[in-house]
Symmetry: C2
Subunit: 222 residues, 2 copies
């Protein structure tokens, strides 16, 4: 392995570490929500700094690698790595949002057992893991398979949103709890969006086709 290849491998490894921290954080705060574990949830902001620092580290590493004038394919790998890292940082932020809302929810009696939310979290994190695995194993087909799954999470979020909205109308005393659950559901939907972004980046990286923002039609300027 050349020195340059070693650098690229190191970049990928740091991304995998970052993804693992982000996944752990989401799991931890969903568990803290279900188990009403305030102590874990209230440490979220502090724990998120590890992920933030990894983003800064990966950016620095990427810029150093770009400066070594690598091949066009490497340039693409490096810029995609920077984008993935940014998406993972956002996943970390969403995890922190989940934790903060879990703390608020724990101030009142539970609304009902949480079933949909852990289910959505599982789906979103599976998408995230698949997208990262596709990146590491250079498998654009695997990345492509992630993209349509976003619709399922979107659907679950919309359904839960509707249920909670009717619940609020029936029982106004539950409004603040319902609002907190809506925010958590939306955070999970956004995590699935980030997984989808990453999958699209991986397709672009290995197929050389930009599939973001498709289908493309000509639209008028504002």
């Amino acid at each position: 392995m050349t020195h340059h290849e070693q650098d690229l491998t190191h970049l990928k490894e740091r991304l995998i570490t970052m993804a693992s921290h982000a996944e752990t954080a989401v799991n931890r705060y969903i568990k803290a929500l279900v188990e009403r574990d305030n102590e874990t949830a209230s440490r979220a902001k502090e724990e998120d700094r590890v992920i933030d620092q990894l983003e800064v580290e990966i950016d620095d590493l990427a810029i150093t690698l770009l400066a070594k004038a690598p091949l066009a394919t490497d340039l693409r790998l490096i810029t995609v790595a920077m984008k993935i890292s940014h998406d993972l940082e956002r996943v970390g932020d969403e995890a922190t949002t989940i934790a903060r809302r879990a703390v608020e929810l724990n101030q009142e009696p539970p609304l009902k057992p949480y079933v949909d939310i852990p289910h959505m979290a599982r789906l979103a994190l599976e998408m995230l893991r698949e997208a990262l695995d596709a990146f590491v194993s250079r498998d654009p087909r695997r990345a492509r398979a992630v993209i349509p799954r976003d619709k399922e999470v979107d659907g679950l979020n919309k359904q839960l949103h509707r249920e909670l909205a009717s619940y609020m109308v029936e029982k106004p005393a539950t409004i603040s709890r319902c609002l907190n659950l809506m925010v958590i559901s939306k955070a999970l939907e956004r995590i699935a969006d980030h997984a989808t972004n990453i999958a699209e980046e991986v397709v672009f990286l290995y197929e050389g086709r930009d599939i973001r923002h498709l289908p493309v039609v000509k639209a008028a300027a504002p």
Copy 2:
């Protein structure tokens, strides 16, 4: 001006065009909300494609420029341009969210005259414009001045959120309208976040200091 300088100037010009489209979109849909103009608001998704296409174009341009093995300072300029473009694309998405919620709000009588929301929109767009101006005029001090202003928009969003939550409790018939207004308020708060991200990138670009995720403290691994 060398050919390379021309390329960088072109990259900046495309970013400015993209920023102008994003700003126009936010203004247009806030106006559509206030004036209950469904026709304008329902064209949002289509209009957003212009912004999406600009992101793809800027990315392509940036990767072409990176491949020309430029100086370290240029590398930084180019990677920052890619990040700014991504933030602007997200501003376009938030504008579309505002438009969609405006259409839903227009199905019911207005809750009350909109005062806070246009005010928040003005503040967020001023921040965005200042951050972009700081980028173009290479002025990190101007960029730094944007960052603390995010707190004001955050505060307004929280205040409006609280007001709407109490309103929902008092008048459950207004719940769906209040929820839509909460989403619009949150979208504006996110636009201010993107302006802050851009400002932080500009500081990093011209001062060489990464001020994201500060203050830095050592946190435990998960």
